[in-house]
Amino acid sequence: MGAERSDNRVDLIIVAVLWVALTGAGLWWATVTNLHPIGASSNAVISDEAFDLLLYLSMPVTTFVVVVLGYSVLRFRVSLDETEDAAPVRSNRLFIAMWVLITVGLSVYVIFNPGFTGLDALAADKNAEMTIEVTASQWRWDYRYVEENIEFLDADGLVLPVDTRILFKITSQDVIHSFWVPAFRVKKDAVPGLITEVYMTTTKLGDFAQDDGFRNQCAELCGTGHTRMRTTVTVLTRVDFIAWVDAQRNAEVSG
């Protein structure tokens, strides 16, 4: 029995070393690798930071399971025709207590951070400088700029000014669609009979030709044309945006 115990201690030390090493390697990888596509809104920062925090927190958990699993398979395997039993350890109070404490602690922690903090940050500022009504239908997007009073039916693109707090008011005329701009980390369903709202601030210039994250793609299955239900998104400087709005008005008058 004594021999088994000292074996166990060696095993524990090796597992601990491997665990620390693999966790370190994992965290290093997580910090040097950018897993995120381009982010061009205030919401993107909140979303990406939440991801990164969860990635860091989950790293030691993942590596712990991988190390214990891998080490056990290599260290404790016997040949297939062995029939001798292992020592009947049915419980280990310390291990169970640690496990429960840590999983409870982590689960509760992530509820508050990044969970509640992220939701609060997303909902913090409800003063929009600009309102755009987004209307989805099978299979097209309509955009109406409320303050500018211009409208695009079956639009090709959505044009926005940079550094501007924007409120999207989203609805649908038939089935459920979803307004999703990957670069903004914004996604909200378009529901018939309901107006859903999203607030966000644009933070970067860009357009679809430069990065395909600048697109509004329907994210809720809506039938045959679902795949193709997308428009480009362009973020202009505020000056360019004003010029663009004027050009649209002139086009409307002359048209």
């Binding site: 995120h36 214990v68 395997r77 039993d85 009947p88 992530v110 990957p182 980390r185 994250g213």
Partner: protein, 601 residues
Amino acid sequence: MSILKGIVGGILGYLLGAALVTSIRAATGAEPWDFEVATMGAYLPTVVGWLLGVGVWEYWARPWFGREAKPYTTVGWRRYFNFDTDHKVIGIQYLVSFLFLFFLAGLFAMVMRWELMNPGRDILTPSSYNGFMSLHGTMMVFVAVAAIVGAFGNYIVPIMIGADDMAFPKLNALSYWLVPVVVAFLTASFLVGGYDTGWTGYAPLSVTTRTGALFFNLAFLTLGLSSIVGAINFLTTVHKMRAPGMTWSRLPIFVWSIYVTSWLSLIFTQFIALAMLMVVFARTLGMAFFEAAAGGDPLLYQNVFWFYSHPAVYIMILPAFGVTLEILSHFSRKPLFAYKWAVGGMIGIAAMSAFVWAHHMFTSGMPDVLLKPFLASTELISIPTGLIMLSALGTIWQGRLRLHVPMLFALGVVFNFLFGGITGVFLADAPLDIQLHDTYFVVAHFHYVILGGGIFGLFAAVYYWFPKMTGRMMNETLGKVHFWWMIIGFNFTFMPMFWIGMNGMNRRISDYVPNLGGTNRMISLAGFFLGMSFVIFLWNYIYSWWRGADAPSNPWGATTLEWMTSSPPPLENFDVIPEVVGGPYTYGDKSAKHAILEPRL
């Protein structure tokens, strides 16, 4: 023969129901013939006609009318095509049927990956892509819900608790013979042009889209009926049929998993039936449950649907946890670690599963005040789930691991589920889920849980109990090739999907922005590689059943009751009623015994 009678009964039932509905419509002045309305009206007569024809009448219902029930005279392989009440026959019927569905749905996945291999359109129209995608999802969900429970729940649970059969053998046969109806409705949906709503069938799309959606709704409804009937049977069996001395704390963990799963099925399946019925009535009777303009609510469907379908995820995974922990103990030759915590984990998951459904709806437009509670409840469910991991790791630690094929698959479940579980923590975080929802990150997550966990668990169970069910051994080398091929193919297929989802690939699309092409091609190739691994399995499975070496009663040297009777067991399982005298995992203690099987005076 009985199947033929069932088909005739089903057709007669359909004609009767359709004629009735059509004449009612004619009498009320509506356009008499409407295919969907007629089909809706004919649903019950069709199902009843099939069941009566297939054997309910001959073996069950005749006494109700003062006649003699026919005796079961069918023997040999024909039993499997007959209305048979032996739980072992039913278990094999379930296993073969759902393996067939699994491979068919897998072929559909291959077709989808072919289309997605390159940007642009390759072989499918967007509409037929949606059709394949919807059928793939639906059939795989059905497999995940019913395969382990139906096959091994039926075959193994009664033997494990020392019973001679299930509590209600006829109901058991009934719940199996509803499965062909499910398959028939899915086939019918395919024949009328498929449906394009995915397995989630969201209203209002499911109300306005093509006729195939009606058959999807009826198929799901029927599977639900089968699940509820089965659940009642399992619960009664575990409560009432345990051998003397088989106390609750002596139940093998697999029995616990089926028991807890059955409570979930019993309580929650009726909600999916409700969701399906509402869509059927909206389609055929014009009831405006989901139509905002007429006072309905489009989000109503999602609430009712997920109120079943999130617990259903645990219906899919809990039996696989049970199989995994069972196998880890036997092949580590060590008692299950923290048995009571593992049981508590299963019960905790089941209890909490009722309070997390709206995490599927974070972007749906539901009231903002609900985001925090559902975020919190969802993160907390990782605590009981963690207890399963705790038990798994504690069991293999310092065990004496014999890496037979079932053990490899059980270890595979632990490895794969780790990634499925951890990414669930990410998705539960509402601020992040806004971006990840409805992308391939979710696709990767649930394939890690359901394919990596549930289906690896299914294969672990197949390899583990095959000798018991067929009396023959599977080929060990081919099994190992299958395992390594499958786990490598699986991880190379689904790991990149996390990345591609974060980078803008959304679900359920037949085409995507060009710069995702490289990763998609790699995923497709890995997917084909994964698909080919099943050829090895099929060969091994069929050939071993036909010509495999004879299996002894206890090839693995395991301690639970199913290994204390012959392979396969005789009718009614044991020659003498076992007397249970100790826990199920007696490893490392020569004096301990699980059960005594001696003829008593």
